[in-house]
C-alpha cells in the first residue's frame, strides 16, 4: 500500500469522526500538509464521515440499528414459548432424553430434581405468523405483525459475564470489539454532531440491582477507542463532562475555543502536525455536542400522545421507557447504532414475583418505539433488535411450587426478535422441542445472528475485518457463521 494512503487511513481511524485533514472549518492546513491525498479521501464520501472505503459492501436494507438488550437472561419459556407438554408434566422431572449431558451452572448442577415449570402466565398466538407471546407482554403482542421472532437462538455460554460478552462482541473473553463499535468502524456516522454509537443503561424493577453490565459490552476492544459507545445518562450531565465549569456560558466558551483554534492552527502549520488539525476538529465537535446533546435529551417538544404511548415511566429519566424515547430521537438524527441495556432479567429466584415487574418495565415502551419508528417512516431502514444473552431453564431452580423458585441460565435455546429494515415482518423462525429445552428446527447460533445483523447493514461479515494480533479479526470470529436468510425480507 502507498505509505501516504496508509498514513491517511491511519489518521482516519484514530479520529472520532472523519478524515483528519478534510474540511477543517476555515483552516487550510490540511490541504497544505497532504496535498494530493485529499481528493482521494474526499471522493464519494457524501454526508458520511468516517467509515471504511468500500463499506457497505452492498446496498443496505438498514441504515441504523437500535438494540434493546435485555440483560440477565430473558425467560423464553415464560414469554415466547407455548409448551402444552410443560403444562401436562408440570412438577415432573425433565426427562433425561431431553436434558442430555450438557453442563449446567453451579446453581442447579447439584439439584436432585429438575421439575418442569410451564410459563407462569397465559399468552396468545399473535400476528400473521401466530407467534405465541405471553400476556405479560400485552403491548408487544400488538406489534407481532412487525416483528420476526427467532426461537432457535443458541450460545455455548452459560454464565453472565462470558454470555453477555459473547452476544455483544462475538467472543466470550474480554478484549473484542462490540457490535456497535464494528458498525461505527465500518460505516462511520452521518451526524457530525453526535457520536456514531450511543449506549444507555437502565435498571430493571424485577431484580435490582440486576446482573452488572460493563463498559466492555459497548467497548471498542481492539478497534481504535474512538469507536466505543458513548454513554448517555439521565440528568444534568448526559454525556460525561459535557457541561462547562461553573459560570462559563456558551459565548465565553466560544471565545476561548476561537483563541484555541487560532493558537493550535498556527502551531500546526509551524510544525507540520496533522494531529493538531484533527484536534481542532474534535474541539469543534465537542462544542457542537454541548448544544446537540441537550437538544436531544430535551423531550419537552414531544406530543402528549407520544409521551402517553411510551407509558408513564417515560418522564422518569434513566428508565427504560425514557431511553426508548431517546433512542427514537437518536435514530431520527441518524445515529448509527443505539443500544439499550435493561438490567434485571436474572430470575433465579421468585420468578412469579420478579418477572411481571420486569416485563412491565419494557413492554409498553418497546412496542411504542416500534410503532413510533413505523409512524415516522423510520422502521423501513432501521433494524430493531430485541435480544438477551441466553434463555432460562424449563425446570425450576429451587423447589417446584415454592414462591421462591426461579429458573437457571439456559444457552441451548432462547428467543430474540428482529424488526425493521431488511427483516421479514410477521415471521417466526426456528423451533424448540416440547420442553423448550433443545432446538428442534433451524438453529441460529449467535454468530449467525451477528452475520445477519451486519448483512442488514450491507456488510459481508467475512469482509469487515481488523488486523489484530496477526489475524484479520471479525465480529463473527473464526468459526463458520451464516446469514440467516429465512428472517430476511
Amino acid at each position: 500500500m502507498d505509505p501516504r494512503i496508509e498514513h491517511l487511513e491511519h489518521l482516519t481511524r484514530r479520529t472520532f469522526v472523519g478524515q483528519a485533514a478534510r474540511g477543517i472549518g476555515g483552516l487550510a492546513l490540511g490541504t497544505m500538509l497532504l496535498p494530493d491525498l485529499l481528493a482521494k479521501a474526499g471522493a464519494g464520501a457524501g454526508s458520511r464521515v468516517g467509515g471504511l472505503p468500500g463499506v457497505p459492501h452492498f446496498a443496505p436494507k438498514a441504515k441504523r440499528v437500535v438494540c434493546l438488550f435485555q440483560s440477565g437472561g430473558l425467560s423464553h419459556i415464560d414469554l415466547f414459548e407455548d409448551k402444552p407438554e410443560l403444562r401436562r408434566l408440570a412438577g415432573q422431572d425433565l426427562p433425561p432424553s431431553a436434558k442430555g449431558t450438557q453442563r449446567l451452572t453451579g446453581m442447579t448442577s447439584g439439584q436432585s430434581r429438575y421439575p418442569l415449570q410451564p410459563s407462569i402466565a397465559g399468552g396468545k398466538l399473535c400476528g400473521r405468523q401466530g407467534a405465541w407471546i405471553s400476556d405479560l407482554l400485552p403491548h408487544i403482542q400488538t406489534i407481532a405483525d412487525d416483528i420476526c421472532v427467532i426461537r432457535s437462538m443458541n450460545t455455548e455460554a452459560i454464565n453472565h459475564d462470558p454470555a453477555i460478552t459473547y452476544m455483544n462482541t462475538g467472543n466470550q473473553l474480554p478484549g473484542y470489539a462490540s457490535i456497535g463499535a464494528w458498525a461505527s468502524y465500518g460505516l462511520g456516522t452521518e451526524n457530525a454532531n453526535l457520536p456514531a454509537f450511543i449506549a444507555m443503561v437502565s435498571q430493571g424493577t424485577g431484580k435490582n440491582p440486576g446482573q452488572p453490565v460493563f463498559s466492555r459490552l459497548w467497548g471498542s476492544g481492539f478497534l481504535p477507542s474512538s469507536h466505543q459507545g458513548v454513554g448517555l445518562r439521565p440528568g444534568a450531565n448526559p454525556v460525561l463532562y459535557l457541561n462547562n465549569p461553573p459560570t462559563v456560558d456558551a459565548a465565553q466558551r466560544r471565545a476561548l475555543l476561537d483563541d484555541l483554534a487560532l493558537l493550535n492552527d498556527e502551531r500546526a502549520r509551524e510544525l507540520g502536525d496533522p494531529d493538531t488539525v484533527a484536534r481542532i476538529k474534535a474541539y469543534e465537535m465537542a462544542f457542537r455536542m454541548q448544544t446537540s446533546v441537550p437538544e436531544l435529551t430535551n423531550i419537552s417538544g414531544e406530543s402528549p400522545a407520544t409521551l402517553a404511548a411510551y407509558g408513564p415511566e417515560v418522564t422518569k429519566p434513566g428508565s427504560y421507557a425514557a431511553n426508548c424515547l431517546l433512542a427514537r430521537r437518536l435514530l431520527e438524527r441518524n445515529v448509527r447504532f443505539v443500544q439499550l441495556f435493561h438490567r434485571g432479567w436474572d430470575q433465579h429466584v421468585s420468578l412469579g414475583r420478579q418477572l411481571p415487574n420486569q416485563c412491565r418495565d419494557i413492554d409498553q415502551p418497546t412496542a411504542a418505539l416500534v410503532k413510533d419508528l413505523k409512524a415516522r417512516g423510520l422502521l423501513e431502514d432501521t433494524l430493531v433488535v430485541f435480544a438477551t444473552e441466553f434463555g432460562r431453564t424449563s425446570f425450576t431452580q429451587g423447589g417446584f411450587g415454592s414462591p421462591g423458585a426461579g429458573r437457571d441460565h439456559h444457552g441451548r435455546c432462547f428467543s430474540i426478535w428482529l424488526a425493521g429494515g431488511g427483516i421479514k415482518a410477521g415471521h417466526l423462525h426456528g423451533a424448540t422441542d416440547d420442553f423448550g429445552y433443545n432446538i428442534a428446527k433451524d438453529p441460529v447460533h449467535l454468530r449467525d445472528f451477528h452475520a445477519t445483523l451486519l448483512h442488514c447493514l450491507g456488510i459481508d461479515h467475512e469482509r469487515l475485518t481488523y488486523r489484530f494480533r496477526g489475524l484479520n479479526a471479525r465480529l463473527t470470529g473464526v468459526e463458520p457463521a451464516k446469514v440467516v436468510k429465512g428472517v430476511l425480507a
Partner: protein, 988 residues
Amino acid sequence: MVAACGLGDPVSYNRDVRPILSENCFSCHGFDEHGRKAKLRLDRREDAVAPREDGPAIAPGKLAGSLAWQRIISDDPDDLMPPPESHLALTPAQKDILRRWIEQGAPYEPHWAFVPPRLPAVPRGVAPNPVDAFVRHRLRAEGLSPSPEADRATLIRRVSLDLTGLAPTAEEVEAFVRDPDPDAYVRLVDRLLASPHHGERLALEWLDAARYADTNGYSIDGGRHLWLWRDWVIQAFNDNLPYDRFLVEQLAGDLLPGRTEAQLVATGFQRNNMVTHEGGTIPEENLANYNADRVRTLGEAVLGLTLACAQCHDHKYDPLSQRDYFRLFAYFNTLGDKGLDGDGGANAGPVAKLRTPLRAGDPERVRGRIAVLRALLATPDEALLAAWEREQRARLAERARGIQLHPVPLQRISTPNSGGGFSVEGNLLRGLGAAAYDVLGQTPRTDRPIAGIRLVFPASNFLLTAVDATADRVPSDQVNLHRLMRFSRVTASSWHPRHPAADVRAFDKHRGWSPAPEAKGEVHLTLTFERPITAETHPWLTTQVYFASRAAPEARLYVFTGDDDGTDLPDDILAILGKPAEARGPAERARLWEHVAAHADALRAARVDLANAEERLRALTEPHPTMVMAVSSQPRETFILERGDYSQPREKVAAGTPSFLPPLPEGSTADRLGLARWVTMPDNPLTARVAVNRAWKMLFGTGLVSTPADFGLQGALPSHPELLDWLAVDFVDSGWDHRRLLRLLVLSQTYRQSSRATPGLLERDPSNRLLARGPRFRLPAEFIRDHALKVSGLLVRDLGGPSVNPYSPFDLWREVSHYGSTPATAQTFVQDHGDKLYRRSLYTYWKRTAPPPNLAAFDAPNREVCAVDRPQTITPLQALVTLNDTQFAEAARALGGRVAARPGDDASRVRWAALETLGRPPTERESGVLLSALARERARYAADPARAAAALRVGDSAVRGEIPSGEQAAWMQVASLLLNLSETITRN
C-alpha cells in the same frame, strides 16, 4: 512498506515473500495440522518442494512446474488460489514477487525472530552512537538526511516527559536553555534517570502489559489489594533491577532460594488476572480461564508471541502446537488458587501480608506531619470554638420546632436476591435480613413541606449500612441512582460510639449506624433533606435500607415536617454547652474541644489530612495483604483441552517450553523458576528483542517492530532489523541494564532530532518509520492529567501506597455494579479528599468494569487483559475532559492563581505561564492572543464580581485569598486555554 524491493533485485524470503505467504496461504497450508487443506504445507521448504501426485507445489527455478504458481495465476475460479471465498487476493506486485522468488530458486529462511540475535556490525564512519549509525546508514540508502537537533527547550520537555512523565518547570527550561555547558543534555539525562519519578514513568507500560487493576474484573468486579506489586514495579525500575531479574522475580520469586519479602511481592505479576466468585460459574472453567490469561500475558508482554491463538488449535501462523501451549499452561497450573474466590474485598488466594518494597517514602517526614496535625487538632482555637458554639446553639434552638411525624403508606418492597419472607404493611417493613431493601411509598399529604424521613426500629444490635431515597412524580420500586436525595443532616436517638448516625452516608460495608448498646425499646434515625418536598411535587417516595451484615428484623418509615428533634451531640456535650463558658471546668473544656476537633466542619480538612497521613504511614511501615504465587501442596495436573474447553481434557502434559524455540538451559527445573530461566537465558531469541522494542516504542512512539505483541510470522518486520538485534545483544551483554539502554537511546542524535515535518518529508515517510525526523506523539492519558496537576501546583509527589479515588463526574460504579446485593467491595464510588485528589494518575483506583473516565477517554485500557499498544485517538470526549472535568478546571484555577500571584507585568506572566505549560516562551503573536484573551476575561469579570467568585468555586483546594476574584478568574480562563492547547498534551 518502505522496504519495497526493486525489479531484478534478489527477493528476500523473510522480507518479501513470507508476509505474502503468511497472509494468504498459511492459514490452510501452514503449521496447523487440523486446518490444513490438501495435506499441503507451504511454510516449510521440504514440504513445498516435495513431489506430489500432480507435481510439486513449488519447483525451484521452474514456474511452469510449480503447481502453486499455476493455481495463483489461474483464470478458473475453482482453481484459483487463494480461493475467492476467502476474500483474499494477490496484487500484481505480490504475484511478481512470488514469480521472481520461484525463479530465483525459492529459498526459505528461518523466521528472523525465532533465531537468537547475533551482534551485527555497526556501520562504520556514520556516527559515534550506534543507534545513529544504523539509522543514518539507512537514511543515506534512501537518499534522505536526518533533521537537525531540536532546540533545547523542546529537548528538555521531550526527555523529561519520556523519562519521568513530568514536564520541566519554567525555571528548569530557562536554566537548561541558558546552560553553556555542551554536556548539559547529558547531565540532564542522568538527573532524570535518577529521579524517583523515573520508576513511576516506566511502570506505566508494564502495568498495562501486566493488566494491573484494583478490582477482580468479570461481572461483580469487587475490590482486591495488589498495590504492593505495583509499588514493587516502581522500586524495581528505580533500582534499575536488571531486566532478567525483573522477570525472574515476577515469574518465580517465590521459588528463589532464600527469597525475600520483596521477591514474593513481585510474584503478584501473574496474579493480576481477573478472578470471579460469581455464583453459578464453574470453578474448573474459571481456573482454566485464569491460566489461559497468564499464558497470554507471558506471550504478549514478555515473548512477543500471540500464544493465546494456540489454546484451541495449533497456531495458524507460528509453529506453536496446542501441545506447546498446554505445556506452558502447566507452569502456572500448579498454583493453589481456587475457582471461586475473592469475595468481600478479601484477596483471592494465595495471599500474603507483606511490607511495601518501596523505599522512596520517608516515614519520619510523615510522622512529623502527623504530629503537627495532631497538635493542631489538639490545640483549642477559641475563635473557632465560639463560632461552632454559635452554630450549635442556633441549631438547638430550632431543634424539634414543630416536628410532626407522618407514616408513609408503603406499597411495595423488593430485594435483589430473595423472593420472599419480607413484606410491607402500612408503614411497617417486616422480615428484613442482611440485604438492601427498596420500599415504595406514597408521600403523605401534609400542610407544611416535608423536611425528611425517619426510620424507627426495635432496639437491637443491628448495623444499618446505608440509607438512600428518591422522591419522584412517578412511582419507582427502586431508588433512582440519577435522582438520589441529598441530606443535610443525619441524627439518631442514640448511637454506638463507633457507629454514629452520619455513617449511614459513608457507603462502607464496615461502617454505618448502630444504636447505643444499652438502648431499649425503640430507636430511630432521622435524615433531613437538603431541599424539602411535598406530596404535590413528589407524590412517590422510594427508600432504600441496606444492612450489609447485622439486620434489624423490622422498621417503620415516616416522613416529618418541622425540624428534626434529634441531635448529633452526645449528652455530655449538651450538658457542657448548657453551662456558661466561664462555669466550665478544665475537664469539660478539654472534652468540648475534643468533640469540636473531631466534628467541626471548619476542621474537616485537617482531619482528612491526618487520616491520609496516618494511612500513608501504615502503607510505608506496616504489612498489607497482597496476592502472590505459590505452589500448591497438591498441584493440579495439566491436560491438553480439546478446543481449549476445560470440560474436554485429553492427553496429560508436563510443563515445558515450545519446541520451535531453543531448549531450556541445562539443569532447569520443571517449574516456574525453570521457565523464568528459559525466558531470560541469553539465547532466548525473543525476550531481549521484545524488551528493547518496548523501550524504543516508549521513546519513539512506534516500536522498531510495530506489532509489539507479535514477533511471530504475522507480526510486522522490524523497520531496522540490524539495529534491533544490535540493541538486543548489547542489552543482554550489558547485564540486561535497562537504564543504560534508555540512556543510549535518548543520547542518540536520532532521538534528539527536531520533529518538524516538511511537506516533502511528510509525503515521503508520513509515519516516520525511517526516522529522518524526531518523534512526536500525544502524551499517555496519565501524563496529561499529571501535567495539569503539576503546573497547577497541586500535584502531590508521594510514591506508591493504596490507590486513590479522585473526582468522578458521577457514581459510575454503582451504575453498573452489584451494590446492595453482594459483600464485594468497590460497588459504589466514594470520592477521596485532601492529598488523594492530587496524586499521580497511576495511583488512581482502577475498577475494571468502569475505569476512570477521564483516563479512559485518552485511550487508557480497561486492564482486563494484557495491553502493550495503546491506541492514540483524537475525540471530542477528550476535549470535554480537559475543558470541563473538575480536576482540570480546578487545575486551571490553581494555575491561574499561580500566574496571577507572580510579580511583573502581564506579558512576563504570560511568558512564564507558557514556559510552565508548553516548555517554551510564547511567540509574539501567541503572546498577543493570550493577552487579548486576558483583557477580554478581565472585562467580563470586572462587570460581574459575583460571577468571578462563583467561577473559582471548583474543586476542593483552597482559593487564593490574596488575589481579587476577578483577576484570578480571568487568569483561570487563560490557564484553561493553555492546558487545552494541542501542544500541551503532546510530547514533541
